[in-house]
Amino acid sequence: MIIPIPLRAVLIGASLLAISGQSGAEPGRLLASQCAQCHGTNGAGPGFDELAGKSASELYHELIEMKYRANIEGIMDRQARGYTDGQLRKIADYLSTVPGTGGD
């Protein structure tokens, strides 16, 4: 018989393991990592348009434009529909903080 155990108990146990070099999760990092399959890890290529280090407000407004565009043209017009506006904001804010390669 399998007895599921409460998640909290596992977390307490696991938290005794030492982790160093990273401070937990940064806001937007996980959501922004979903861009990487087509734009490269951290949005820094190889792939479609480079996203890393671009202006947060420009990225956000482009994503919002694609999300609400009436006539679907490209695949990003669909992908942008896959996130809440708040998630798009987090993604744009995070990507703007990542160093880019200076590419397009």
Partner: protein, 434 residues
């Protein structure tokens, strides 16, 4: 699971739950956490890489039976000879050298859930790997066909590598007026658009090679085209009219590989020149001792990919079943496996610092499918964590709720999309392996 049978496995698992509930010893407090990953496909490679990127000093060991991974993505273009096998062969060197992942070549054969240990069969004997978290990304296994089925005679080429070469050689040997028969497995299966894509590029190949009167017969176990219905209906009826015959509702009743004969509820084809029997699918073998759903896949927690009752064993990619709304299943694809790997990696890293998993999460899949040797279509779908519903629209719980799905508009099936296919492939290859 060669060393433990299911009953033994479950017995051990019960003990594991009891042990895991206890705080770990003081000695563990200064130990870097260890994660063992099984399977070097898109899910396994990505989770290994991102655990190292995000997890500080976490120790990650990636176990794969092969020295490298051959990608199913783009593999239909190897079948037609448009691409070489080396183009889709992805090594583990960057995971080792750039990210500090330990790579072990061997086959995972047993999980000691009570002792938090994985047994791996290697060329130098069995190795036992202790873990704090175990991530299984074993991909698919095949449900044997009724009858006399032998994949070495009638290749599926649904796991890329030697099978891809077998099918390529059989296709190359086809002459005019000969028949290529293929099946579409009953959903859910790996890469929903993949079989239809294959029908298209095989027909395109036969046409370009001047194989007059040759034909592709598609025997689909499903009631209709399961992905990109507009693009593939047009491709079958217009672009490749006369070269492809599409037969829905074709439930397979028997297969005779030596005679290349297949009997289905809708059509029997005897003595085909090529029988590309793509079997129905289930979770890869190492996951099969875990609790399975009725379709043979492992239900997981959508926030962590942990298996119910096994809080430190996670299953990602094709082998897992993510809770979703009825009729809006999470597709099994390399892209989705990469997506799930990141959610899983983040949840594991959070657990090491005592944080609960992030609930503001999204997953996605996107891909390009060649329709001819110059044009491709595309498919896109997205999921956000939240309420999921049954067929009547009643909320049945939390899961990954499909918020969008769509395929290329007619004017998007073109040469630009064909080029974009390689940009996408190189990007996901890099994000997963480099």
């Amino acid at each position: 699971m060669n060393t433990l049978n299911r009953r033994q496995f479950l017995k051990l698992a019960g003990a594991a739950s009891a042990l895991a509930a206890l705080p770990r010893g003081v000695g563990a407090a200064t130990t870097a956490p260890r994660v063992v990953v099984v399977g070097g496909g898109f899910g396994g490679a990505t989770v290994a890489k991102y655990l190292r990127m995000w997890g500080g000093n976490v120790q990650v060991t990636l176990v794969d039976a092969n020295p490298n991974h051959v990608s199913c993505i783009l593999s239909n273009l190897v079948v037609t000879g448009a691409l070489s096998m080396s183009r889709i062969t992805l090594g583990f060197d960057s995971l080792k050298n750039n990210h500090g992942v330990t790579v072990m070549q061997g086959r995972a054969i047993g999980i000691d859930a009570a002792g938090n240990k994985l047994t791996v069969s290697t060329s130098t004997g069995n190795k036992v790997l202790p873990y704090d978290h175990l991530v299984l990304s074993p991909g698919i296994d095949f449900v044997p066909a009724p009858g006399n089925w032998d994949a070495n005679l009638t290749p599926h080429a649904w796991q890329a590598g030697p099978q891809t070469t077998l099918l390529k050689n059989q296709l190359a040997a086809m002459r005019s007026y000969e028949t290529f028969v293929m099946t579409v497995p009953k959903a859910p299966y790996r890469c929903p658009p993949g079989p239809y894509e294959r029908a298209c590029v095989v027909a395109d190949y036969l046409k370009r090679k001047g194989r007059t009167g040759a034909k592709v017969i598609v025997l689909d176990a499903n009631p209709g085209i399961t992905a990109e219905p507009v693009a593939f209906t047009n491709a079958f009826n217009v672009t490749h009219a006369g070269w492809i015959e599409y037969v829905p509702n074709a439930t397979v009743q028997s297969v005779d590989s030596s005679k290349r004969t297949i009997v289905t509820s809708a059509r029997t084809v005897s003595n085909a020149k090529v029988l590309n029997y793509i079997p129905n699918q289930k979770a890869g073998a190492i996951a099969a001792a875990l609790p399975l759903n009725s379709q043979g896949f492992v239900p997981v927690n959508p926030l962590t990919y942990a298996v119910s009752g096994y809080p430190n064993i996670h299953v990602i990619g094709d082998a897992c079943a993510v809770p979703a709304s009825v009729g809006k299943a999470v597709p099994k694809s390399g892209h989705m496996a990469n997506s799930e790997a990141k959610v899983c990696a983040d949840a594991i890293v959070r657990s090491f610092t005592g944080q609960l998993p992030d609930e503001d999460i999204a997953t996605s899949s996107a891909c390009f499918s060649p329709i001819t040797n110059t044009k491709a279509s595309w498919l896109s779908t997205n999921f956000i964590y939240g309420d999921i519903v049954d067929a009547a629209g009643n909320v049945i719980g939390k899961g990954m709720n499909r918020v969008d799905i769509g395929e290329a508009p007619a004017n998007g099936i073109d040469g630009d999309s064909y080029q974009d296919m390689f940009t996408w492939a190189d990007s996901i290859f890099s994000d997963s392996y480099i």
